[in-house]
C-alpha cells in the first residue's frame, strides 16, 4: 500500500503542470479527528471539514489510514427513521465552498482496526482528490460524545 501511495504521489507531482495548483493544495482540512471506540469494535470513523479555496470543484475520492485494514468513504442517509450507511465513490467539495464530514453524514470509515483507538492516539490519513493529488492528515482520536469527563466531547462544530 505504501508503495502504491508513493507511486501515486510521485505521478501526481510529476504529471501536474506547475501553473496548476493540485486539488490537495487547494483543499484545507479543518479539525480532523477520529473517534475512540470500544476495544472490540471492528470499525471507527474519521471526520473533518474540507474547505476548497480553489476556483474549481473537486472531490475526495479515496482515503487510506495506518490504523485500519480497509479505509472507505461512506455516508448516512435517514429515511423514515431508518439509518442507512452506504459507501460512496466520492465526497464532492464545491469550488470556494466546503463539505463537512461529521457524525450522521459523510465519514471516512476505518474498518478492521489493527488496534483499538484510544483518546490521545493519532491516526495518519492520506486523502486522495479527484485530480489524483494526495494530502497527508493527522487526526487525533477523540472520545465519543459524553464519554469525556470534561463535558466537551466531539460535539463542537468547526463552523
Amino acid at each position: 500500500m505504501k508503495k502504491t501511495l508513493a507511486a501515486l504521489a510521485l505521478s501526481a507531482a510529476t504529471c501536474l503542470p506547475a501553473a496548476w495548483a493540485a486539488d490537495a493544495d487547494q483543499v484545507q482540512v479543518i479539525a480532523p479527528y477520529a473517534r475512540a471506540v470500544p476495544p472490540t469494535a471492528p470499525a471507527s470513523a474519521a471526520f473533518m471539514t474540507l474547505r476548497n479555496r480553489g476556483d474549481h470543484a473537486t472531490a475526495l475520492i479515496a482515503a487510506d489510514s495506518d490504523v485500519a485494514e480497509i479505509t472507505e468513504l461512506h455516508t448516512h442517509a435517514h429515511e423514515n427513521g431508518m439509518m442507512m450507511m452506504r459507501p460512496v465513490a466520492r465526497i464532492p467539495v464545491p469550488a470556494k465552498g466546503e463539505t463537512q464530514l461529521k457524525p450522521g453524514g459523510y465519514h471516512i470509515m476505518l474498518i478492521r482496526l489493527k488496534h483499538p483507538l484510544k483518546p490521545g492516539d493519532k491516526v495518519h490519513l492520506t486523502l486522495r482528490f479527484a485530480d489524483g493529488s494526495t494530502k497527508a492528515v493527522t487526526a487525533p482520536v477523540r472520545p465519543i460524545n459524553g464519554m469525556s469527563h470534561m463535558h466537551h466531547g466531539n460535539m463542537h462544530h468547526a463552523h
Binding site: 473517534r35 470500544p38 469494535a41 427513521g81 431508518m82 459507501p87 457524525p103 450522521g104 464519554m147
Partner: protein, 201 residues
C-alpha cells in the same frame, strides 16, 4: 307532550351510542397501528439468558444496533451512558441500559459485552437468533435490514432505526427517544419514571 320527549331521548341515546362506538373504533385503530406493544423477551448475554422481567422495578432503556456501526450506535450509547452518569447514584441503580445487537453473525454475546463495557454505564449486551430478534424488534416498533453491499469490503451493512425505547418499572413501553437526543434531555425523560427519595415514605 310525551311523544316529543321520548323521541328526543331516543335521538340522544342513539347519538351517545354512536359517539361511543366511533371513539372505541378510533381507539382500537390507533392502538394497533401507532403504538408498538413492547412486552417481555429473553435474549442471550455473555452470562446467559436475560429477560426484560429480570428488571422489574427498574426503568429499562432498550437500544437496537450492532458493533460494526462506527457512528450512529456509539453516538446513541455515548449519550445514553452520559445521561446515566448524570443521575445521582441511587437513581442510577434504578436504570438499566440494554444494547441489543441485530447482527448476531458478527456480534457474539462476549464481544458485545466487551463493547458495552466501554461505555462505563453497566450496559448489558444482548443478542439472539434471527427469529427471536425479529420478534422483539417488531414488537418494539424498531426496524433493521441486512444489506449486502458489493462496493464495500465489509461485506454487508445493517440499516437500522435508532430510537431508544423507554420501558417503565412495570415493563411497559412508555416512549421512544430519537437518535441524537442530548444526555440532559434523556435525563428529563427519565426523571418522572424514577422513584425519588422524598417520594418514598
Amino acid at each position: 307532550m310525551r311523544k316529543p320527549v321520548l323521541a328526543l331521548i331516543v335521538v340522544i341515546a342513539a347519538a351517545v351510542a354512536a359517539g361511543l362506538f366511533a371513539r372505541q373504533k378510533f381507539h382500537a385503530g390507533s392502538t394497533l397501528t401507532a403504538r408498538p406493544t413492547g412486552g417481555d423477551f429473553t435474549l442471550q448475554s455473555s452470562r446467559g439468558p436475560v429477560s426484560l422481567h429480570d428488571f422489574r422495578g427498574k426503568v429499562v432503556l432498550l437500544y437496537f444496533g450492532y458493533t460494526y456501526c462506527p457512528d450512529i450506535c456509539p453516538t446513541s450509547l455515548g449519550n445514553l451512558s452520559a445521561a446515566w452518569r448524570m443521575l445521582p447514584p441511587d437513581l442510577r441503580d434504578q436504570v438499566q441500559i440494554l444494547f441489543v445487537s441485530v447482527d448476531p453473525k458478527r456480534d457474539t454475546p462476549e464481544r458485545l459485552q466487551q463493547y458495552a463495557d466501554f461505555f462505563n454505564a453497566r450496559i448489558i449486551g444482548l443478542t439472539a437468533d434471527k427469529a427471536t430478534l425479529d420478534d422483539v424488534v417488531r414488537r418494539y416498533g424498531a426496524v433493521y435490514r441486512i444489506v449486502p453491499v458489493k462496493e464495500s469490503r465489509v461485506g454487508y451493512l445493517v440499516d437500522h432505526s435508532a430510537f431508544t425505547y423507554v420501558i417503565d418499572r412495570n415493563g411497559r413501553l412508555i416512549t421512544q427517544i430519537p437518535h441524537g437526543t442530548p444526555p440532559k434531555e434523556i435525563v428529563r425523560t427519565l426523571m418522572p419514571l424514577l422513584t425519588h427519595k422524598e417520594d418514598t415514605p
